[in-house]
Amino acid sequence: MFLFIVFALIAIVAALGVILSHKPVYSALFLLMNFGTLAALYIMLQAQFLAAVQVIVYAGAIVVLILFVIMLIGGGELGSGDRRTRGTGDTATAVPASSGRRVALGWPRITAIVLAVLLLAGVGYGIITGQLYPAQGSAATFDAGSVQAIGSVLYTDYLLPFELASVLLLVAMIGAVVLARNE
């Protein structure tokens, strides 16, 4: 229970950091922390395979892709994306973001350090006390999150969706290449 509260607090604060920090790079890194925390929560829910997939796909691939795009289109000028709205007279939507930014000078680093230390401490505490290991032996054990159980269901009952997902990924890959091509 204690571990859940720690992880939940980290997830919520990191989510607030995503929407309140004025530089997209900070947002992407807070998003990474949010995904990592969710992976820890998946382990607490005995979905070990999904936790690994969460780290690999979300934290590994998606955040890196977002960071690459931020790097390609320039992280510095992106900060003015919210500011320009105010100049064009549409103040109603721009005010909350800009006021939140003014309060928050320099807070992303402090918040990130605190959250990272908390996350490390939480994971370390979970590993030492054994709460982050899958429960074994008890009658109420739900051993369905393992790779073996997921794989046996995925390749029998859900074989068609699985194959369709591969087609979807292929189509998305071709679409991304065509869209991002430099004519």
Partner: protein, 100 residues
């Protein structure tokens, strides 16, 4: 054992934060990340309910949602890059090609 309701409450909070992010920010990349956060919040509730009912289908569904999210990110970021190349802005207020 943490009750399932707590996970659902956390999921709802994360989803609400994502919605607020989509509504208050005008930077297209941050809106994109907020959408990702909302997808993750829904995934969390799927996994929590999968444990609640001892049913594996929820986790399979989360796996499929992750696949769709990966495809969505690839295509979405390609669209963002194309828009930035044409309009030279990341503010969605300036992107009104489809406005009648």
């Amino acid at each position: 054992m943490v009750p399932t309701e707590y996970y659902l409450i956390l999921s709802a909070i994360l989803f609400a934060i994502g919605v607020v992010g989509v509504l208050i920010r005008r930077n297209v990349l941050i809106i994109f990340m907020s959408v990702e956060m909302m997808l993750n919040a829904v995934n969390l509730s799927f996994v929590a309910l999968s444990r609640q009912f001892l049913d594996l289908n929820g986790q399979i569904f989360v796996l499929m949602a992750m696949i769709v999210a990966a495809a969505e990110v690839a295509v979405g970021l390609a669209i963002v890059m194309t828009v930035v190349r044409h309009k030279d802005t990341t503010n969605i207020e300036d992107v009104n090609l489809l406005r009648g």
